[in-house]
Symmetry: D2
Subunit: 259 residues, 4 copies
C-alpha cells in the first residue's frame, strides 16, 4: 500500500511583502520565486524527492526520504539567503490528497498565510524510517503523443500553451476527483501525477477520458518505488516504452521499481 | 497605438535531450528550467522587459527595449553556461497575438523544435529605437479578490491551486479570443495580460465574464508605458487602488504611465 | 583523534573547454564557476560539510557525513545541468593534508586534469558511518581584529584586499607547514582552517607569528565536532567570545562541540 | 588614453549581519556570496563589463558601458531578492588605482561599511557616453605556463593552490606598485589585470620579475577596447597566440581591439 509523504511549502506573508512599501519589480519577484523553487528542487531532489512549483508561493513536494531535520535545514537555509521565509506542513497517507489535506491543515491551524507573525512554522510528521517500504510512492508520467509535430511546430506558441493547459486542467481534475491523485505540469507537454495504488485499468480509462473529453491523445508510464525518484524514474522508463512501441500505458502492472 | 515586441524563446531539441541517452533525473530538469527562466527574467527584466515561463522549454517574453545585440548576448551566455542552447524569434505588432504569431513562424520556418541541426536561431526584428513611443506596451495585472481568505487559508493547497488554474484558463482563453491579449499566470493568484489598446469597458466586461462563467471575483489594474516594466508598474499601482478602494478596474483610462 | 574527510572536486578538462572553439566570454565563465561552487556549497553544506572554492576549477571540500552515493548524486546533477562535468577524489585521515594528498592522488592516477577522456571519475573512500566520532573534525575560524576600522573604512578597496591576501597567504603557509592544516579565505576578513588535533598553544603561537611576521592582528575561535558544520559552528561561537571579551584564542581547550 | 570606470560594490553592514542574532551557517553565507557575485557578473557582464569577487563583501567591477540608471537597477534587484543590500561608488580615471580610490572614498564619506544606517548608497559618476573611446580599457590576461603539467597533475591540490596564490600575490603587488594596475585571480591559473596605458616593455619586465622573484613562468595576452569585454576578449586571443607560439607577451603593441 502506498504511503505518500507530502510537504506543503508556503512563503510566509508573501503577498503583502510583494507590495510593501510599494509594489516590487515583477521580474525580481519572478526570479526570486524561480530560484527558491530551484533550491527546493535540488534540496529535496538530491534526497530522492520531487517538488512542484504550482503557485510558487505555495509549492507541493513529495518528500518520502526527507526527514524532519532535513526540513528544518532547508528552512534555515532559505531564511539565511532570501528576504522571505517559508513554513512547511508534512503528512503521509495512502491517499496523496489526504496527505496534502493534513499537511495543509497543519499550516492553516498555525495561522493565516498572510499573518505576519506566523513565520517559519514546521509541523506534521514524516514517515518513520522503519515504516518505509519499496512501494510507498506511485508516479505516473504523462505526455502528449507527438506534441511537437501537432502543436509546437504548427501553432503559435501561446495557442500551443493554451492547448496544453486545457489538457492539463482536465487531467488534474479527473485524477483528483476520480483517483485522489495530485497531478502537476512540469514543462513541455509533461504531467507528473502522484497516485495512490491505481491499477492499469485506471490509467487506460484516464487516457480514454482525455481522448474523448479533451480531444488530447496522451501516453503514460507508471512506476512505484521507495522514493519519488525511484518511482518517477521507473515511470520515465515505462514512458520510453510507450514512445518506442506506440502503446498508451506502460509500467502499471509492475508494482515496484526494480522488480 | 501599442506596439508589443514579443520574443519566443525555445530550448533547442530539448525533449530528445531530456531522455538521451536515458531519462534524466526529473529534479535536475526542473532546476535547469527554473534557473534558465530566472536568468532570462534578470536579463530581460533589467532591460525593462517581462518574461513568462509558460512551458519552460518555450518561454514568451515581452522585450520592448531589448535590441538584437542583447538577444545575441543572452543566447551566447546560455550556450556558455548550460548544457542546452536556445533559439529565439522576435516580432513587434499592435496585436500581441500577431506579434507572437510572427515570432513563432520565424522559428518554425527555420526547422522543427526537435531538429538537432536547428540550433541557436535568432530571427525577426526588434522595434527600431526611433519608432518606440511611451504607449507601446499595455499591461493588465489581475488578481483574485481575497484569495487567501477564501481559498489558501480554507481549502487544501491542491484544490486552491486547481481553482486558480481553472480561473486562469478561463481568463487566458477569454482574453485571447476576445481581445488578442496574452495572459500569463505569474504565481500566487496573479495573472498578467499583455494587451492591445483595450479600454475600460473591455476590462469591466472581462471581470463580469469571469464572475459569471468561472465564479471567480477578480480585480485588475491597467497601465501603459514605453516598456513592459513601465506599463506593468503602472498596472501594479492601479491594482493597489482596487485593493484599497474595493473597486474592480483601475488605471484603464490613464493611457500612459506617468501621465 | 580527528579524521578529516576531504573531497577534491575537479572540473574535467576545464582549461581547454574555456578556449574551445575560441575563448569564451569571461563573465560567463565566472558565473558558471560561482554557481557551480554555490551548488556544491548547498549540496555538501546541507549534509553538514564545508566546501571551499580555492581555484574554482579545483575545489576542496570537507565532507564528513557525505557518503559515496551522495557524491555520485551531485556528480550526476552537475552533468545534467552544466556544460561541464566533474571528477572527485575522496579520502579521510587524521592529517587534513594527508587526506587531501590521497584524494588528489586518486584523481591524478586516473589521468590528467586536461585529459578529455578522463571524465566523471569518482574514487576513494568516505569514512564508514560506524567509524565516525564526535571529534572527527577540528575547525579554526580566524578573522582580523577591527578590519573594518583599520582597513575597509580607510584604505582603497584594492589595498585592503591586498593586505588581507598577504595575511591569508602567510597564515595558510604557516598552518600548512607547521600544522598540516588547510586554510581557506572565505570572504571579508575571514579564514577557516581545517586542522588536525591542535591544542591552544598552537593557536597562540600562530596568532603571535602573524603579528610578528605579517603585522596583522588576528583572533581565532576553535571548535571540534562530528561534522564540519558542528565544528565550524562551535568555532564561530568561540570567535564571538573573542570579539566580546577582546581575547585572541577561544574554544581550543573544549575538544568537542556541545561538551 | 585609457579611462577605466571602476565600481566598488559593498554589502551593507555585512559582518554584523552574519552573526546576528547568532552566527549563521557558513555554507549559506558562501552560497549567498557566490550567487550575489554571479548576479553581478551577469548584470555587468552582459553590459560588457567585468566584475571581480575579491573579498565577496567588497567586489570590484570595471563598468565602462554601465550607466547610473543601470547601477540603480541592480541595486534595487539585489534588495528585492536578497536579505542584504549593497552600496556602490563609481569613478573613472586613466589610472585604475585612482579610479578605485575615488570610488572607495565616495563610499567611505557616506559612512562606515558597518554602519547600519548607511545602506544602498549610490555615489560617483560614470563616464559620460560621449566621452567614451575605443581605447578606454586595457586588460592583461596572465596565466601560468603549463600549470596543469607542473602543478595540478603532480602536487596535492592545496599545494598547487598555495603556489598559485603566492604568484598571484607577487603579481598583484608588482602591478599595483609599479603600474597602478588592479590584478585579480579569476580561477584556475588565470589572473586578469586592469591596466593603464602600459606598453610591451612593461609586460616583458613583469614576466621577468615574476620569473626571478616568484620562480613562476607566466605568459600574458594584452588588449584594449571600448569596454572590459572588448579589451578582455582581445587579450584572450592574444594569450592564445602565446600558447600556440610559445611566446610570453602578445597583443601589447596593438593598442585597440579590432585594429
Amino acid at each position: 500500500m502506498s504511503q505518500t509523504q507530502i510537504t506543503l511549502v508556503q512563503i510566509d506573508n508573501y503577498g503583502p511583502w510583494t507590495t510593501t512599501p510599494e509594489p516590487r519589480r515583477e521580474v525580481d519577484l519572478q526570479t526570486l520565486q524561480a530560484r527558491l523553487y530551484a533550491d527546493f528542487a535540488q534540496f529535496v531532489g538530491t534526497r530522492d524527492g520531487y517538488v512542484f512549483y504550482t503557485r510558487f508561493d505555495n509549492m507541493i513536494a513529495v518528500t518520502n526520504g526527507t526527514d524532519r531535520a532535513d526540513h528544518a535545514r532547508i528552512q534555515e537555509s532559505v531564511s539565511n539567503r532570501y528576504p522571505v521565509t517559508v513554513s512547511m506542513g508534512i503528512a503521509a497517507d495512502p491517499s496523496p490528497v489526504d496527505a496534502l489535506g493534513r499537511a495543509t491543515t497543519s499550516l492553516q491551524e498555525a495561522g493565516s498565510a498572510q499573518d505576519g507573525d506566523r513565520t517559519e512554522i514546521l509541523r506534521g510528521d514524516p514517515l518513520a524510517g522503519d515504516r518505509r517500504t519499496d512501494r510507498d510512492v506511485r508516479v505516473a508520467h504523462f505526455d502528449v503523443v507527438d506534441a511537437t509535430g501537432k502543436y509546437t511546430d504548427r501553432m503559435n506558441a501561446f495557442d500551443t500553451y493554451v492547448r496544453i493547459q486545457e489538457s492539463y486542467l482536465a487531467l488534474m481534475q479527473h485524477m483528483r476527483q476520480e483517483h485522489e491523485a495530485l497531478s502537476f505540469f512540469v514543462g513541455g507537454d509533461n504531467i507528473i501525477a502522484v497516485c495512490p495504488d491505481l491499477d492499469e485499468g485506471a490509467f487506460e480509462a484516464t487516457i480514454g477520458h482525455m481522448r474523448e473529453t479533451a480531444d488530447m491523445e496522451l501516453q503514460v508510464g507508471v512506476g512505484s518505488g521507495r522514493s519519488p525518484h525511484d518511482a518517477g524514474m521507473a515511470a520515465k522508463h515505462a514512458l520510453e516504452v510507450c514512445r518506442h512501441d506506440g502503446t498508451r500505458v506502460e509500467g502499471a502492472t509492475h508494482p515496484v521499481a526494480g522488480d
